[in-house]
């Protein structure tokens, strides 16, 4: 009962407070603090640990990484203080002049050109099938999603087993088996990795598409059918435009994944043969941690992120203009 009374008293006070302090006498100090903190200061208390964490784990390393890429930074024995002189764009100059780096970015391009169209086409195909099918719907949904929930390390082990020299895929292909074999073939390794990543993530994208398809009003299809549109025509003129926002999202997520490719080349080939499956993330690990040049690695990281952002923006322009 007392709190109810409290509430009654406080509300008008707050109302005048928002109108401005000039009206009436000044608020007591506690009120003014509360006014400054907002209606529920508890929110501040609840958010502070999270915000502090974000600063320590995201903002500080972010700034540190950018700083590092403009300075001469190297590992020292613990406790030793050494100067890290500012070197301007020297790290970036070194990175851009390095043919290995260029090859790594080129490999990502190959990866994206295979992975993105494949994901969109297969995602649309399977999800529209799933949307229409009556039986076994749950089974299909679960099967497509299982690769997505399984660790890359585990699934890559099977892919190595299937695709290495004497693997079952080559046995099945017989005389058609590629020479040199998949993992050792410079022109096949990146496409193989692209197919693997498509296979692994497809289930997630199928679910995204499925949600969008289920939201397409039935009336649109009925109206199109009434106007004599066939299945293909209806797919092109009703379904595709309706799921365009999802396609845009799928392309964006694929581009982001492309920038992160690390585990696949690391476990399948170590970046070989001859850098044919090297990716920027793997290169960052090799240069930054194995070879002790974190400044160079940070510069690669910055270039990679800027490239990924540029491609994402371009793809958004492209996928949204079509509409």
């Amino acid at each position: 009962m007392t709190t109810l009374h409290d509430e009654d008293v406080r509300s008008p006070a707050r109302a005048t407070a928002t109108r401005g302090p000039r009206q009436g006498r000044p608020d007591p100090r506690g009120r003014r603090l509360q006014r400054w903190l907002g209606e529920h200061p508890l929110g501040l208390l609840l958010s502070t640990p999270y915000a502090a964490f974000v600063v320590v784990v995201f903002l500080v390393p972010f700034g540190f990484g950018v700083w590092m890429s403009f300075h001469d930074f190297f590992f020292t024995a613990p406790g030793v203080q050494v100067p890290h002189p500012f070197v301007g764009l020297e790290n970036f100059r070194q990175v851009l002049a390095d043919p290995v780096v260029r090859q790594a970015f080129g490999n990502l391009l190959v990866f994206g050109l295979i992975n993105i169209p494949l994901t969109v086409v297969l995602g649309l195909l399977l999800s529209s099938g799933l949307d229409a099918v009556v039986h076994w719907k749950g089974f299909f949904r679960v099967s497509y999603y299982i690769p997505y929930v399984t660790a890359s390390v585990a699934t890559l082990a099977v892919w190595i087993f299937m695709f290495n020299g004497g693997g079952v895929v080559n046995k099945l292909l017989g005389g058609l088996a590629p020479e040199p074999t998949w993992l050792a073939n410079p022109s096949l390794i990146m496409p193989l990795i692209a197919v693997y990543v498509t296979w692994k993530n497809l289930g997630f994208y199928v679910l995204l598409y499925l949600a969008a398809l289920q939201n397409v009003p039935k009336e649109l299809h009925e109206a199109a059918e009434m106007d004599g549109a066939g299945t293909w025509r209806r797919f092109r003129t009703v379904t595709l435009p309706a799921v365009r926002p999802v396609t845009s999202l799928v392309v964006l997520l694929c581009i982001i994944t492309t920038g992160q490719i690390f585990t696949e080349p690391y476990l399948l080939t170590g970046g070989g043969p001859n850098g044919a499956s090297m990716t920027p993330a793997l290169l960052m690990y090799q240069k930054g941690i194995q070879q002790g040049q974190p400044d160079i690695a940070a510069a690669i990281g910055l270039i990679l992120v800027i490239a990924v952002m540029a491609v994402s923006l371009a793809s958004r322009r492209l996928t949204e203009r079509k509409g």
Partner: protein
């Protein structure tokens, strides 16, 4: 409206008859579902065959890559590979490490997600916009940019190499969970909270006795969405753990498969046995809770 719904069919039939298309349409009417079903079955087979082969490969006494080896042949079946991989990497220890890391990440994610999601949706306070901006920023900053500086900080400055804290740290703030909880809290009518306030409940009491019980389904969703990540994560724990007794299974298995352990009777089989051990917990949990992995849940995680 009711009158017009029957007419399209009639009209359609009329048109079909007029153009003499009826048999043709009939055929596509039967062919299309069959084709669709075939595509879906082929897709499911392609998705599942590697898993079948993972199990078969893990059970093979000798590596058999022939087409016949795809079948579970009695004379070539053994459980030795599991014992073999267990000799090289302590499976139980690695599983425990994976479990600790996953539990730590999921725990932090839930606590942060619940508190911040509640603060952002139910309360109003100074800096709220800034906190929400931070939540979105976490989504936006790509890990590649953080990988090297975070490694330098965690390993060199914080001395958290080969430490569970070091493994958990970068994943502890997960904005997906914040967005899931925010979404759930926004769906609860404000009156529920206002009524509690009028009844004299303190803000903390409201959070504990009203908000948390109301969003229990969101807790499950957030757990399911986040547990897969740390359980399967390879890159970060790989960077910060060099001590084999601290490595999660994904890392120790990857190192084992890279080491080409020739003393194993069937090295590939041993790797696949390890792969099964790594895959089974995630797949089983997914199968148990698969109806929670709906696009709606995933969608809320992405759209924010």
């Amino acid at each position: 409206m009711a009158g017009t719904t029957s007419s399209p069919d009639a009209l359609n039939k009329d048109r079909r008859v007029r153009h003499g298309e009826r048999p043709g349409l009939r055929r596509t009417g039967r062919v299309l579902p069959a084709l669709r079903f075939t595509v879906l079955v082929v897709g499911a087979l392609l998705a599942l065959v590697p898993f079948y082969y993972m199990i078969i490969g893990a059970l093979q006494k000798e590596r058999d890559t022939s087409v016949l080896g795809l079948l579970p042949l009695q004379r070539n079946l053994t459980l030795d590979n599991f014992a073999g991989v267990n000799e090289s990497i302590d499976l139980l220890r690695s599983l425990l490490n994976s479990l600790i890391m996953t539990a730590g990440v999921v725990g932090c994610t839930l606590v942060f997600g619940l508190l911040v999601g509640y603060a952002l949706s139910v309360l109003s306070f100074r800096g709220q916009g800034l906190v929400f901006a931070l939540v979105l920023l976490v989504q936006a900053i790509p890990f590649q940019l953080l990988m090297i500086p975070l490694y330098v900080m965690v390993v060199r400055y914080f001395n958290l190499a080969d430490n569970y804290l070091g493994m958990i740290l970068p994943f502890a703030v997960n904005s997906v969970a914040v967005l899931i909880f925010r979404q759930y809290f926004l769906q609860i009518p404000r009156d529920v909270f206002d009524a509690a306030r009028i009844d004299g409940a303190s803000e903390l009491r409201i959070l504990r006795s009203i908000a948390v019980p109301l969003v229990r389904p969101a807790v499950l969703t957030a757990m399911l969405v986040t547990f897969i990540g740390p359980w399967n994560e390879f890159l970060w724990p790989f960077l910060v753990t060099k001590d084999a007794t601290m490595q999660p299974l994904a890392v120790s298995l990857a190192n084992f498969s890279q080491a080409n352990s020739t003393f194993q009777a069937n090295p590939m089989g041993a790797v696949l046995a390890g792969a099964c051990v790594l895959a089974v917990p995630a797949v089983v949990l997914f199968l148990l809770f698969q109806r929670h992995f709906t696009s709606a849940n995933l969608g809320s995680a992405i759209k924010g």
